[in-house]
Symmetry: C2
Subunit: 112 residues, 2 copies
Amino acid sequence: MSTLLNSLTTELRRGTLTLAVLSQLRTPQYGYSLVQLLEQCGISIEQSTLYPLLRRLEKQELVTSSWDTTESRPRRYYVLTPYGIEIYQQLKKEWEKTSQELSLLLKGEDNE
Amino acid sequence: MSTLLNSLTTELRRGTLTLAVLSQLRTPQYGYSLVQLLEQCGISIEQSTLYPLLRRLEKQELVTSSWDTTESRPRRYYVLTPYGIEIYQQLKKEWEKTSQELSLLLKGEDNE
DNA sequence: ACTTTATACTATGCATCATACACTATTGTT
DNA sequence: AACAATAGTGTATGATGCATAGTATAAAGT
C-alpha cells in the first residue's frame, strides 16, 4: 500500500478507534484484552495507541479504571461510566448518520 | 451538544471529509459549488476547511485545478487525476471495510 | 537458562480540522 | 447612487489524536 493511501486511511480510521473502544467497555476490559478483542473483529490497534486513548477517556470521565490484583498478574480494568454510556450512544448515532451520508455520496458508478 | 461530544464527533468526521470531497471531484467542481453540493447531502464543511483540503489534494497530485475566466466570475475548477481516481477507489474500499467492522461492534443491545 | 507471552506505560512528531480572519467582484434592493 | 447580500478565493494559528518508537516487568513455556 502506498504511503499516501496509508496516511489517508489512517485519517479515515481516526476517531473510529474511540468509538470501537467505547463499544467494548460496556463490560470491563483491560488493555491487553481489548487489543485482542478488537483484533478479532478486524480492527488492529497498537498498545501504544490504546493506552493513551484509555487515559484520555478516563480524563474525560467516560471510563473509570481499577487494578485487579487477585490474579497472578495485576491488571487494570476499564469500564464505562454512566456518562460514558450516554456519550457512547450519542456518538454512535453520529457515526450512523455520517456513515449513511457517506454511503450516499459513494454510491454510484462502481466501475471495477 | 456538549463540547466533549462535539470534539469526539469532529474526530469521527476526520478523514471522511477527504473521501467525501474526492467522491465529488469525479466531475469538475469549484470550491463554492462543493460546499453546497456536500451541504445538500447533509455534510457541512466550512470554506476555510475545504480550501486547505483542496490544496493538500492538489499537492498530493490527486486533483488538478484550473481557472475558468469565461464566466462573469472567475472560478477555480478542481477535478480528479487518474491517480486520484485510483486512490479514491482504494480509499473507498478501506472505508467500506472499516464501516462494516464498526457496524459489527456497535450492533447489539440497542437500549433506547 | 532462555525465550516467549502477558501486561502496563511514555515521549515525540506530523497531519488534519476548526476557528477566525482578509480580500474582491457581482447581483439585488432601497 | 448607495448599500447590503451573495458568490467566490484564500491564509494563519492552534488544538488534538494517532502512529511510531521506545521502556519495563513478571509469568509461563522450552
